[in-house]
């Protein structure tokens, strides 16, 4: 086992989310076909696969953004299909999504962006809400002065951090990250990985991370799920993945770009 398993995770090993025999298709094109894996409570799970293998679609289906045609998604032991729309709505507050481009509301400043979900769903005084939003800003490592800037004035890395702060606004139990380190410089990406590990440990988050970044897999992820052609290729820890015999995984983990993560 890796030694990265968070010591503080709640009931480690129990699944936060399971995906069973999932199928997603757009018209005649089947993107996901019979996929199954689980996201354990308190772990950071990396979702990898070649471009077009359905990583983002899987994540969006799990986040309830696109419907699936077959299979079952279970959240904390409750099947998604058996819920009323209202129950799903409530459940959705328990997860945060970090979109690839941040998806910050461009007409609101950073602080208002973070406050937005709290304003919508929580009953608290404006003062407390503001204080909590500022604290979230600090949690993701943004300077206090960033509070009043607008998304268009931020750099790529700051947008990711601000978007992460917004994803954390509702104290989610599950966090979906769509290529969180894409477009960041290696130092920024490394810090972002550390940040996610720290947050996951402190807040007891279960994280599903779609990524292409080998360093992220090494530093942040407890386990890895590899997709190929909409199916599960292999799931396991980094060392298990490295030892895998599948050609794509061999190339992925032993290819020319994998040098710095080995040994």
């Amino acid at each position: 086992m890796d030694n990265t398993a968070p010591a503080t995770s709640p009931a480690p090993g129990a699944p936060a989310m399971t995906v069973d025999d999932l199928a997603v298709s757009f018209g005649p094109v089947t993107v996901i076909d019979g996929l199954g894996f689980e996201l354990r409570s308190g772990e950071i799970l990396g979702l990898i696969g070649p471009s077009g293998s359905g990583k983002t679609v899987t994540m969006r289906a799990m986040a309830g953004l696109i419907p699936h045609q077959r299979g079952e998604i279970t959240v904390f032991g409750r099947p998604f299909s058996g819920m009323t729309p209202r129950e799903r709505e409530v459940l959705r507050r328990d997860w945060g999504v970090l979109f690839q481009q941040g998806a910050l509301f461009s007409s609101l400043n950073v602080l208002e962006n973070i406050e937005f979900p709290m304003r919508e769903h929580l009953d608290m005084s404006p003062r407390l809400r503001r204080e909590i939003a500022r604290m979230k800003l600090d949690l993701v490592g943004l300077p206090p002065a960033a509070a009043y800037t607008f998304p268009t004035e931020l750099s790529g890395g700051m947008i990711k951090r601000a978007a992460l702060a917004r994803a954390l606004a509702m104290d989610p139990k599950i966090l979906f990250l769509d290529e969180p380190t894409a477009g960041l410089d290696p130092i920024g990406a490394g810090k972002f990985d550390e940040l996610i590990v720290t947050l996951s440990n402190t807040l007891g988050l279960s994280v599903l991370m779609v990524t292409h970044d080998l360093d992220s897999l090494e530093v942040a992820c407890d386990r890895i799920v590899a997709l190929a052609d909409g199916k599960l290729l292999k799931a396991g820890t980094l060392s298990e993945m490295r030892a895998a015999s599948e050609p794509w995984l061999r190339e992925y983990f032993h290819g020319p770009r994998a040098h710095n993560t080995e040994g």
Binding site: P10, S107, M124, S125, L128, I132, M135, P144, D171
Partner: protein, 385 residues
Amino acid sequence: MACNAAFEGVMGQYIEFAAQQGADQAIRCSGDWTSVNARALEHEVADLTATLPKNTNPIIDISNIGTLDTTGAWLLTQLMRDDGDSPREFVGGSDKHLTLLERINQYTPVEPAPPGHENRLLAPLIGVGRFVMGGADDVFAVNFTQGRLLAAFGHTVTGQAPLRLASFVQQFEQIILRAIPIVALISLVVGAIITQQTILQLRNFGATILVVDLAAILMFREIGVLLAAIMVAGRSGSAITAEIGSMRIREEFDALRVMGVDPYQALMLPRTLALIIGMPLLAFIGSMAGLAGAILVAKAYGNIPIDVFILRLRDAMSMTSLLVGLIKAPFMGLLVALLASVEGMKVRGSSESLGRRTTSSVVKSIFVVIVADGLFAIFFAAIGF
């Protein structure tokens, strides 16, 4: 009881604190300290900190807390920091809770300077100043854009830049051809309404037949071109602004530039040319449709047979009336294109800005088109055309 002003303690849902405890005073926290219960928690924390006597330093017992999230942790650290000089201590609590509390405690709130507010007394003056400067900027920007477009046109004509025929044809279809039904319909209805009202008035003088003169001159000189220009400003001015604006947001505009392609030549020129060349066409179609409306209503309200109408029209219509409308049309097209481009170029970053600029493009285009029509009317009257 009556004079008992001494601190009684707090017995809340989440916080228990008894005053008469002696040395091992403890604030006992229990329940779920989560954002869902934020309102109640906030009150209890505020109540306690407000009533807690100074110089008491109780420990904070968190062993009975169920779920703790960042909001709860924040409120707990508020409780801890309250006294200032020596922080209170947490006892009990799982590792998980303590880790979270420790992290939250590292954060010391810093009040960043909020964005500066304008002096309220000066606000009206600042508003006027902004308005005037904005107007001046617009005049400059329109001239700048016009210059860039002329340069682009020059480059195209002299063969230094490619002739974008496909783009021109596509824009012509979008902006002009697809606008024909709506322009024709509106002109027909307006022509009919004007004719009806005119007939009702002229009947008093027994000069109903003069409605033909009025309808023909009004439709060809003013209404046809004006309605076409207003419709195009609303339909295509907004579309051009939105296209250019979203291309700016998505950096497509800059992409063209770094590839050595002049965006004014590639994007604005085909649209502008389509508008300049197409507007006379639309104005003519609008005028004809308005005339058709006039013929129908003259027959229905004024009992003027169609052949009598046409006969009278031969005397009333002149080439001059037609030309006045057609001469104005290209300028209207140019104004719409210029304002739409200028507003599109002003889009910065947010989707809100895109919406604001699109609105502003339509409003300004319609305003300018009507004002220009008025100026043309004065001009043609002055030269007796």
